[in-house]
């Protein structure tokens, strides 16, 4: 079933203490591959049937007004099969 996905990330220039904490923990646990980490959140939204352009527009608006804090966060809306 295809879903609408909203991914919310702190804007690149905004401090991300959680991501920093993860980045600091990785090498401690033996994972040395990472240079930096930023953490965000992902919403998986199920809809009845195929997401329509109108639904995506609604999701866009919901993200703008509610799911993301656009003062400090950016978001992308997409469909995932």
């Amino acid at each position: 079933m295809p879903k609408i996905i909203v991914e919310v990330m702190l804007k690149p220039e905004i401090l991300d203490p959680q991501g920093q904490a993860v980045a600091a923990a990785l090498p401690r646990l033996g994972f040395t591959f990472a240079q930096s980490v930023r953490q965000g959140k992902r919403f998986e939204i199920e809809v009845a049937g195929e997401p329509t352009p109108a639904m995506l527009a609604d999701a866009e608006r919901a993200a703008e007004e509610f799911l993301a804090n656009t003062v400090i966060e950016s978001f992308v809306v997409k469909v995932e099969q």
Partner: protein, 745 residues
């Protein structure tokens, strides 16, 4: 164009810089050119623009604030006065206390959580910078109408931000205020006060002395926080390839700040710094120019050494970044290794970014190119001083007296008390305060909703301090000169009601636009009133903060001068709580009520403002404070009468206690009748609960000091009974506690 160097600036005198977009006026830009003898570089312009802003330079308020110096109280208690990061007061036994309030109003409107959180972070670093361990915070808050949709957005965010940051730091939040008024819609006031303690010998100052000493930046890395203004410079004139406009919002990390506090205190304990400054507004621009101008004057800084979170930052942006959790220390070279070792232990990034010089200029280079060459004093202290036009606002001539129906029947009394106690300005605030940690560190003696917050300083001697913040914006609106005097007197009364002796004050003056002559007049009257009352009460002003432009269009906020009073109590075990714990106690009112309802909550509930603030009676208040301190050992409880009048004070006492009271008020003794006695907010009054055995002793103290003492009734039962009107505690308590969950839950 790449880097705008000093040489480049000298060679291209006609190059247009966007000074107006950075908030500088034409004459201010001309003055910068005159100081430098050439056009400023982009970096220099960034520094001047932010340091000469209203927020950093106090350009509109300076001419008025100098009264605090002219009318200064000679006080032995004041160890460090106005001008440093925070004032320091001697509280005895070798202890020094530093406290200060600041505003974070606008950021909290834009992004409530982070705005309020970084407000706490900033004021805590100010206190830390003095060499003190921060021990408590308080938050005086103002919001638009309680039921307005935007208040539902702003208030929960602000409260969560204060709690989120303060709780993570392990700092108890011991009080503050929450007031609603339509004028704060769009302009919420988020003031934060922090108090810290140290030994006298541990006081630190923001000075860069000693040529050859090193400038060390430590704490969080520098990112693109809070540099909306500077990005104009960077992105629009010098490097058009810049991606986004930088946000004006800063995000804080309380755990980084906690580590910074402990790291700094360990550094201070080993005496490793010559001077220290926190990085707040204006970031590195502010820290370097203030340190240098308070010291010998010269400093070299290599900007490329600043550790960056975002490598794309331009030099202008690095200078202006308001990234949180950063400090700047001046360290002797011989002590650097130890300084660095302590930072390493705490996992704090520390970098030498420059050195103090014997010259008198601040030189900042970026990869070897000179981009700033200024006399630091001209940036930090010689900003513009404006004498803005002032005019007594016209509204003062069209105020109308209150017209309120008297309350007589028992049913009327009950309905009125329930209505008052459920009003958002009076109702129980624990929906808010329970989100704050009150008792962490284990030294909190009193916190919200007590009259003042009280903290134990010494576990063996039981020495403690009390702090209260107060503002009565409606009285300041009606009479700015007397309004602030009344706020200070109330704050002193709150301190004394708890059993502490008022010692010093700080302030946070929140006003509309200084470009409005009416606002400016109100501000000037407020400063005059505050300076006068401090002189009259013998209380030194330790510092303060001015927040202008709290205004949307033509609507300014009510003038809101928040006053914070610090008191000292020899033995915290002798304090008085606001509520009694047993039945059979006698209740008295100290002081008289009158019939002036102007500015009261009762009038506000009827959509009225009234026409005149009460007249401050300094002599009466001084004697009342003496009665409170002398009588303290006889009081089973003491609670100030202020917002909501006697009715609110009695209700708060019985609700907190869970034990009722039977009150009898002979209406004819008060000019305002029963309504005045219950709902007028006449200052200079306190309710006390006293055991019958102690009544004679208290009466003697009150008589000796000529303070009227009126019998109100006795404690007991499960209702608050006022002149025959019985209000069951359950009903009263429900009215009081249901408002906030209903509005914000």
């Amino acid at each position: 164009m790449a880097l705008d160097t000093v040489a480049n600036a000298a060679a291209t005198p006609d190059f247009e810089l966007p000074f107006a977009q950075l908030g500088l006026k034409e004459d201010e830009y001309a003055k910068i050119r005159e100081i430098l003898g050439r056009r400023p570089t982009g970096s220099e312009l960034a520094m001047y623009s932010v340091m000469w802003s209203e927020h950093c330079s106090y350009k509109s308020s300076k001419v008025h604030l100098k009264q605090f110096g002219e009318k200064a109280v000679k006080s032995d208690a004041l160890l460090v006065g106005i001008g440093e990061n925070a004032g320091v007061v001697d509280i005895g036994q070798g202890y020094a206390v530093t406290f200060k309030a600041e505003s974070h109003n606008h950021p909290s409107f834009v992004e409530p959580y982070q705005g309020a959180a970084t407000g706490i972070g900033g004021i805590v670093r100010d206190i830390l910078t003095m060499g003190a361990r921060p021990i408590a915070v308080m938050d005086p808050l103002r919001f638009g109408a309680a039921d307005a949709p935007d208040t539902r957005r702003v208030l929960p965010g602000v409260v969560a931000g204060i709690g989120g940051y303060g709780n993570c730091l392990g700092l108890p939040n011991i009080g503050g205020e929450i007031v609603f008024d339509e004028t704060y819609a769009g302009n919420p006031l988020v003031n934060a006060l922090c108090v810290g303690v140290m030994r006298h010998e541990d006081i630190k100052l923001a000075q860069a002395h000693g040529a050859g000493n090193l400038v060390v930046l430590y704490g969080a890395k520098t990112g693109g926080d809070g540099i909306g203004g500077a990005s104009i410079l960077a992105s629009e004139t010098f490097n058009t390839a810049k991606p986004t406009k930088r946000p004006a919002v800063q995000v804080g990390d309380p755990f980084a700040e906690k580590v910074l506090i402990e790291c700094s205190l360990e550094i201070f304990a080993e005496d490793l710094v010559v001077g220290i400054q926190d990085l707040g507004a204006a970031g590195i621009s502010c820290a370097t120019t203030e340190l240098a101008s308070a010291g010998t004057g010269g400093m070299n800084v290599q900007l490329e050494k600043v550790p960056l979170r975002d490598p794309s930052l331009s030099p202008e942006e690095i200078l202006m970044s308001e990234s949180q959790e950063r400090m700047c220390a001046i360290v002797e070279p011989s002590k650097l290794a130890r300084f660095m070792a302590i930072c390493k232990k705490w996992d704090v990034t520390a970098t030498v970014i420059g050195e103090v010089t014997s010259g008198d200029r601040l030189h900042i280079t970026h990869n070897g190119e000179l981009i700033v060459d200024v006399p630091p004093r001209t940036v930090a202290h010689d900003g513009p001083v404006l004498t803005r036009p002032m005019a007594r606002p016209e509204y003062l001539d069209s105020l109308t007296p209150t017209s309120l129906a008297p309350i007589e029947s028992a049913a009327d009394i009950k309905a009125a008390v329930l209505k008052l106690m459920s009003a958002p300005n009076i109702a129980d605030k624990s929906w808010v305060t329970k989100q704050f940690d009150h008792y962490v560190q284990g030294n909190t003696i009193l916190s919200q909703p007590e009259d003042s917050g009280m903290i134990r300083i010494d576990e063996k001697t039981h020495l403690g301090i009390a702090i209260s913040t107060d503002a009565n914006a409606r009285w300041s609106y009606l009479d700015p000169y007397n309004g602030v005097k009344l706020a200070l007197l109330e704050s002193c009364r709150n301190i004394a009601t708890s059993g502490a002796k008022p010692l010093a004050i700080t302030n946070c003056l929140n006003f509309g636009s200084p470009e409005d002559p009416g606002v400016m007049w109100t501000f000037a009257e407020t400063v005059r009133g505050l300076a006068d009352i401090c002189l009259e009460m013998g209380l030194p002003v330790t510092g303060g903060n001015v927040s202008f432009y709290n205004q949307t269009g033509k609507v300014a906020i009510l003038p809101t001068p928040v006053v914070g009073v610090l008191g000292v109590i020899e033995d915290v075990r002798t304090r008085s709580a606001m509520s009694f714990k047993e039945a059979g106690l006698e209740l008295f009112q100290l002081g008289n009520a009158d019939d002036n309802f102007s500015g009261s909550e009762w009038a506000h509930l009827h959509g009225q403002m009234g026409d005149r603030a009460p007249t401050p009676d300094v002599d009466h208040e001084t004697r009342l404070v003496k009665v409170l301190l002398a009588g303290q050992k006889y009081f089973a409880a003491a609670h100030d009468i202020s917002n909501g009048g006697l009715a609110a004070t009695l209700s708060e006492m019985v609700i907190k206690s869970g034990i009722g009271a039977t009150i009898s008020i002979p209406g004819e003794v008060v000019p305002g009748g029963l309504t005045g006695a219950l709902f007028a907010e006449t200052p200079g009054r306190v309710v006390i609960a006293v055991k019958t055995d102690n009544v004679a002793a208290v009466e003697r103290i009150a008589t000796d000091l000529n303070i009227p003492m009126h019998t109100l009734g006795v404690t007991g039962g499960d209702a608050l009974v006022i002149n025959g009107a019985s209000i069951p505690l359950a009903e009263l308590s429900a009215a009081y506690t249901e408002t906030f969950p209903r509005l914000f839950g």
